[in-house]
Symmetry: C2
Subunit: 392 residues, 2 copies
């Protein structure tokens, strides 16, 4: 690693799932960091250290960063050598990228920018956005370095992935790329790959869309297999013994804030060219409805009264409910039967053993590792519906 | 390997891409083999050894099998301990499985079946077909063993893949599976995985469809990248550095007799449930049309007069033109310019260097390894269009 830690200042805009851990990692890597969020509640919570963070190591990292004085938190941007923008870029209700937070963050930056500052955008973006933002910034000061550096991490292990994953850096020009590489090299252990801004934007979207399409295939296959009386788990297990085949795992839908959004970002630039991509989104959404119907039918046909739903999160082994299809399914079932919500990542839910004892019908929605130990004698005589490989 | 080679007799129905090499391998593995094809021309050609076979080792294997007397060729089925059906199962013009050859082969078998004979189907089948065929056969003799054992090989290396790939065996019942396992174990070195007939049918279709969908994604992405001015090769190269991402290579479409058919076989059983699968087929077909349009536009805009098309086959490094999109593209261009067809696997085509020298526009359609040595100075000043990574 190149040593550039002469107490350079970094201002991180957006203190969410990416911005906060990034600010903490930088503060403990020798930078003087200002973390900015326009939401005063978020700022107060972080400042008072009352945040309960589920990510391993993050709570301690945050405490160290703040007590050392290397991390300050504010609602206002200040001048800094390096600006990182990690604000959310959600979707509008009609599946278009909503760049409001990004625009607010960029506008807030402008009065504080100095010649040779480095501006890094980490938010997921539609292709061409970094170039537009660069045009805006360069109007005020043409000697600003700008690069797009998408985060590529999985929730559940953020601090490790932030520092150990490979990074892609898309410079708006070669000098910008070089400046960005030197900065990331100071705290990233993974490889750093450089390209232009458009390609870096496309890489992030293409990666997530790859996963969405392959999950959509697994989900479509699971519905076909159900219809044709073929065991989907066995089918995929055998097909994947083929050296050139890697079918993903089906589930009750696709959640989280990453995979379901990127395909729409790709589609926003080139709607007539993204038919497979939008079809995959449709299939993954339909899978959730299909699961609800399947459960409803089973409840009705078997007169089930008490239903235990195993797993609420959008993926296994994290306490993360963002856009969780499991949660949508559980909510939809409330009208059909007495629903017992079971999730070891949420202590207020029903304990597993109690739910198994009370329920007529057990429904597998998320394959948390805590469910792996369910013994077959515990579920003897219970009806089972498994959409996530929970009972295997 | 278990030694069951007490000169058991095998009758192989269908002497095409799979049946003939299978018959040869069995004849040289100690079986007494009768190869049957209803086409007398095929039978005559094979008997006279006038067949020119492009597959490595197959020509020699065939000569040995026939001269040793272990392989006989005929238009008529005879009694045998083991019957293998390897007839084509093509598509009708409206994308439905055409099982005529299969039905003819099964009907031809019936008069010759004896108690405890083993019937193995290797053709690609819609899910449930083996069960239907078994019902038909069991009407005549309920003591026939029946299993579905899809071939899973790549053209270009058939003899090696036949004996070294893992095999999936789907028995119509457990005894059938066991009988089939013992037979394949006598000449297959790969693992043998057993399941029921429906699942084995689904595995074969799901494997090919996985590849079709992933190629469709790569093809869709290549059109998006073209529209947004992003280099598709660089995009995929960087995205695939992500440990959980494996985007396939785009191309001018999908050809051959395997991948483009299986999705329709899946769709035939459950049309409303196969929307992603049929959309992927549409994208892969549209990619061919998109390539033609792209070339037409380039020819017009640049007044190109002589166009060299590099590659004619449906995939690299084989002399196989079946359903080749490259060939469709080349044919479509005949009206637009003088077209030089270049393919080292077909000696009658124009030699590469000559075509490069004469053409204004070079078009990469198939990445044969023979094209890897094109030096950059040879193509200086030529217009290039590359749809298959030929000039990289």
């Amino acid at each position: 690693m190149i040593d550039v830690k002469d107490k350079k200042s970094v201002c991180v805009s957006g203190l969410g799932f990416i911005g906060l851990p990034t600010a903490c990692v930088l503060a403990t890597s020798g930078y003087s960091v200002l973390g900015v969020d326009i939401n005063p509640e978020v700022v107060n919570h972080i400042q008072s250290l009352k945040f309960t963070l589920s990510e391993p190591n993050l709570q301690l990292l945050l405490e160290n960063a703040i007590t050392s004085g290397n991390l300050k938190i504010s609602t206002k941007v200040e001048a800094a050598d390096i600006h990182i923008i990690a604000v959310p870029t959600p979707l509008t209700s009609d599946h278009k990228p909503n760049l409001s937070y990004l625009n607010i963050a960029v506008d807030a930056l402008i009065p504080h920018l100095r010649t040779r500052d480095l501006v890094l955008i980490e938010s997921t973006l539609p292709i061409g956005t970094t170039e537009s933002m660069a045009q805006k910034l360069h109007k005020y000061n043409p000697e600003i370095y700008i690069a797009y550096c998408p985060e590529r991490i999985l929730p559940g292990n953020i601090v490790h992935e932030l520092t150990h994953n490979d990074r892609v850096i898309g410079g708006i020009n070669e000098d910008s790329a070089l400046k960005a590489v030197n900065f990331y090299k100071s705290f990233v252990h993974g490889d750093i790959i450089t390209t232009n801004a458009r390609t870096a934007e496309a890489v992030k979207l293409a990666e997530n869309t790859y996963r969405d399409i392959n999950i959509a295939y697994a989900n479509e296959l699971s519905m076909i297999a159900d219809h044709l009386n073929v065991n989907i788990t066995e089918l995929i297990h055998i097909a994947n013994k083929h050296p050139r085949v890697h079918i993903h795992n089906p589930g009750p839908g696709v959640g989280g804030h990453c995979i379901p959004l990127s395909p729409w970002f790709l589609a926003s630039s080139t709607p007539p060219l993204t038919q497979l991509i939008t079809k995959a989104r449709e299939i993954n959404n339909n899978k959730t409805k299909w699961v609800i119907e399947k459960i409803r039918k089973t409840i009705k046909e078997n007169n089930a009264r008490v239903v235990a739903c195993l797993g609420l999160t959008y993926k296994p082994n994290v306490p993360d409910l963002r856009e969780s299809p499991a949660l949508m399914i559980v909510d939809a079932l409330e009208k059909e039967a007495m629903v017992l919500r079971v999730d070891p990542y949420f202590p207020d839910t029903i304990p597993l053993q109690e739910a198994i004892a009370k329920a007529d019908l057990l429904i597998g929605l998320v394959a948390h590792r805590e469910f792996q130990d369910i013994a077959s004698h515990e579920i003897t005589g219970k009806m089972l519906l498994d959409f996530a490989g929970v009972f295997e």
